[in-house]
């Protein structure tokens, strides 16, 4: 069985929020409007958050490291952290859900079943990453706007929790095709919308159980870390630390050796 996982390279991430929109359009995530946004009710299965790193260098574990001395700005620095659901191996939300509306599927996806959910928001409270969203109001797609709804994903009603599903409908489609052709799922056949859309190619997605897959390799790389590892949730989404400028591999050159570089 696969264990789907993702690696997000924070060095590549530009903080452009393409993943957010890709996710919203793919999964029929509603917008909440100005009346609700300021109350913190906007739904983002995939949110890019801004981490402020104070200049004196105190930083929390799990945050991208600042490279001191490379930025002459005396104040704090900002870093951008794209946050999908972490799909923990030991998810606290699954433990506390009173109605089994959220489950850990056999292939490692923490699923939310909105049609089962009673909206008690316990999972939301228990998620250390705050990656669950409650529908504080009925979805509102005025006029023709609802035509753009993706028919592969249900529209959640009011009063239920929703969250990132790693675009499980794409997995179903790919799996069905693969089974029909009597083979395993190919590596590139199933990627979530955010991974597909990421313009800076910061996200790598695949089977963590397949040691040859890029995602498994990256997840073991020395740059890799996982958020809030001390809580023991074992997220299946890992991050790669930001690097600093390195120019040593090609030695500094004048105009003369330019041909050498090109060759």
């Amino acid at each position: 069985m696969q264990k789907w996982g993702m690696v997000i390279d924070l060095d590549r991430c530009a903080g452009c929020q393409t993943c957010t929109v890709a996710c919203r359009t793919e999964n029929n995530v509603p917008f909440c409007g100005d009346g609700n946004a300021w109350k913190g009710r906007a739904i983002f299965w995939n949110k890019v958050i801004t981490v402020r790193i104070e200049s004196h260098g105190s930083q929390r574990e799990g945050e991208p490291s600042a490279s001191p001395g490379t930025n002459n700005h005396a104040g704090p620095r900002l870093r951008f952290l794209p946050m999908p659901c972490m799909h923990c191996e030991r998810p606290p939300c699954v433990l506390v859900c009173p109605v089994r509306a959220t489950t850990k599927s056999v292939d490692g996806i923490v699923m939310q079943v909105p049609s089962r959910c009673i909206g008690c928001r316990l999972c939301q409270a228990s998620c250390p990453y705050s990656r669950r969203y409650f529908n504080w109001q009925e979805v509102d797609y005025p006029g023709t706007l609802k035509e753009a709804v993706n028919p592969d994903v249900s529209i959640r009603t009011l009063g239920v929790i929703e969250k990132c599903t790693l675009c499980v409908h794409r997995l179903q489609k790919a799996r069905e095709q693969a089974r029909d052709e009597n083979r395993e799922i190919r590596e590139d056949e199933y990627v979530p919308a955010c991974v597909e859309a990421c313009p800076a190619k910061a996200r790598t997605f695949g089977d963590l159980n397949n040691p040859d897959h890029a995602v498994a390799k990256l997840a073991r790389s020395p740059r890799a870390f996982r958020l809030l590892e001390e809580l023991g949730t074992f997220p299946q989404v890992s991050y790669l630390h930001e690097s600093t400028w390195k120019s040593e591999s090609r030695k500094s050159v004048g105009a003369e050796d330019e041909e050498e570089i090109d060759g």
């Binding site: 109350k39 929390r60 909206g119 008690c120 928001r121 228990s126 990453y129 705050s130 009063g159 958020l227």
Partner: protein, 562 residues
């Protein structure tokens, strides 16, 4: 002369003033708003009408209110059971008032929970049919059902004799009391049976009471994702909090009832003094718990957790925390301590003045348990301020309206004081004439049903727990029905006639029951006092009562069965 006159005891049932009707009307309006607002308005508009938000407080005043109400609900049964087990006669009349408080606040709490979830239509069905064994919420559903059913059974059984007497004394709503008495006829066997059952119920219900609030503590305490909640201390802390809240609530309720019905003789200042001393003691204990929790929090290593407690003491919530702690705990404790320590002071007012702020302070601390934690997530999200909307506050208020309505209705429908044993029906209704063989059969039947119920109850619970991960089995429904099954045992013990007693056999053999064959007299005179006290001065109601009690039991028996 109050204790001699049954009308003193049944004052609420005999006369209802316009004030009571007005109170009922206002409270009913509030209760209606609660049910409209929480279940209809909120159901169709979503929880956006509240002040809660995902990146903000996802739980707010309503959850604080739930915790508070569940806390209040504990103490009723606690007092009642303690009084019964420890035979604290002085506090005996407190028992039912407190039991009613339990029933009312527990119902209100359940309503609040149902209103707070996003989809109340699915709530009951899904939790019961698809409950997840590992979820504290399911445990809480289990224990709250258990507690609600148990306290109803306990309350009913403890009240059964009084209801029976009501059905004999009162002309109004006689059908109700007769229905509720369920065939009770205050024969000594019945009474003995009842008392024994009730005693056992009290023994059983005490740990259940502890479990409910522990489980509510775990609803918070088993969430690693929330700084400030994930804490082994949570369960005892919640239980103690419940005792403090409940006691302060009960003190207020008793004071109001004493004032309205002029029952100074049943609830003398001395009794309040005792309550005050106990409340002061638990408040001090709670302060100690609080101090120890906050201290740990302030030294906590996870930054987010430290942030919560810092915010609590010095940040945006500090005004609530400090007002609640100083104004609602330290000062009231001092008041209660002084009144307890000073033998000259015996005043209901002082105790109430001490207790009421504690109630509100506890509400404040519930809010502080719930909300600040959301403002220090592990991941630095941008957060929205939580400002409870008018709707939130109206729901909180309306909950208490509902509680007041419910409570007043109970007071007006059921005997709120225990009728002392010296009240006996002069002419008991004729017990059914059942043939001895039938009686024997019933005896076997009773044993069979009880053991069957016991077996099936335990079996159901075991099966429910055994099949907890089976998707096709509604495991919580099974174990909850097992629990409900078990709670029918005390009912069966009391309701189903058992083997005929020796006395019955004798009577049967004699084939004549002269006293019972006589036609009943008019009801008002059907109940009389078995004995008139020789000493008119009321110095100690309790002493006299106890003396009378011993005499009555003996003489009454003689009179009826002579």
């Amino acid at each position: 002369m109050g204790d001699r006159d049954i009308s003193v005891y049944l004052r609420p049932l005999l006369r209802t003033t316009w004030k009571a009707y007005a109170l009922l009307a206002v409270a009913l309006a509030g209760a209606c708003w609660y049910f409209y607002g929480a279940f209809i308005y909120q159901f169709f508009h979503g929880h956006r009408v509240t002040g809660q938000g995902t990146h903000g407080a996802m739980w707010g005043t309503i959850v604080a209110n739930i915790v508070q109400l569940i806390g209040v609900s504990h103490v009723g049964i606690a007092i009642s059971a303690t009084v019964r087990i420890l035979q604290l006669k002085r506090y005996q009349q407190l028992a039912r008032i407190a039991e009613f408080v339990t029933l009312v606040s527990l119902t209100a709490a359940v309503c609040n929970i149902a209103g707070d979830v996003g989809r109340p239509d699915r709530f009951l069905y899904n939790v019961v049919m698809h409950g997840n064994f590992t979820a504290p919420f399911v445990w809480s559903a289990t224990v709250i059902t258990n507690y609600l059913v148990g306290s109803c059974v306990y309350l009913y059984l403890a009240m059964r004799r009084d209801i029976y007497l009501c059905s004999r004394v009162l002309t109004r709503r006689r059908w109700l009391y007769r229905a509720l008495a369920l065939g009770y006829s205050d024969t000594p066997e019945e009474r003995e049976n009842l008392e024994r059952t009730v005693w056992w119920c009290a023994v059983i219900i005490l740990p259940i009471m502890v479990s409910v609030h522990s489980v509510y503590g775990w609803v918070f305490g088993l969430q690693p994702g929330r700084p400030g909640w994930f804490n082994p201390f949570q369960a005892p802390y919640f239980v103690l909090g419940a005792i403090v809240t409940g006691f302060s609530g009960v003190v207020a309720v008793v004071a109001i009832i004493r004032r309205i019905y002029r029952w100074e003789q049943f609830f003398p200042n001395r009794l309040f003094k005792g309550l005050g001393v106990f409340l002061g003691f638990v408040t001090l204990l709670y302060l100690y718990f609080l101090f120890s929790e906050v201290l740990t929090g302030l030294y906590a290593s996870p930054e987010a957790e430290r942030g919560v407690f810092h915010d609590l003491l010095f940040g945006r919530f500090s005004w609530i925390a400090w007002t609640a702690t100083v104004g609602g705990m330290i000062v009231p404790f001092w008041v209660l301590f002084v009144q307890g320590a000073n033998p000259k002071i015996q005043s209901m007012k002082i105790v109430v003045v001490g207790a009421v702020p504690i109630f509100f302070a506890m509400w404040g601390w519930r809010y502080l348990i719930t909300v600040p934690s959301f403002f220090h997530p592990h991941i630095p999200y941008k957060l929205a301020e939580y400002s409870p909307t008018l709707f939130d506050w109206s729901l909180v208020l309306a909950t208490y309206c509902f509680a007041i309505f419910f409570y007043t209705a109970l007071v007006k429908l059921l005997p709120i004081l225990e009728l002392p044993e010296h009240f006996v029906p002069a002419r008991p209704v004729r017990p059914p004439r059942i043939r001895l063989a039938t009686m024997r059969g019933l005896g076997f039947f009773k044993r069979a049903t009880i053991s069957f119920t016991l077996a099936s109850g335990i079996g159901l619970i075991a099966y429910g727990i055994h099949s907890r991960f089976d998707v096709l089995t509604p495991a919580p429904a099974i174990w909850i029905s097992g629990i409900v099954c078990l709670w029918t045992i005390p009912l069966q013990v009391c309701l189903i006639p058992g083997f005929p007693s020796r006395r019955h056999m004798l009577a049967h053999r004699a084939r004549q029951e002269p006293a019972l064959l006589r036609p009943p007299r008019p009801l008002v005179t059907a109940v009389g006092l078995a004995e008139r006290s020789s000493s008119p001065a009321i110095e100690s109601w309790v002493d006299r009562h106890q003396r009378a009690h011993r005499g009555i039991r003996r003489r009454a028996r003689m009179r009826v069965w002579a």
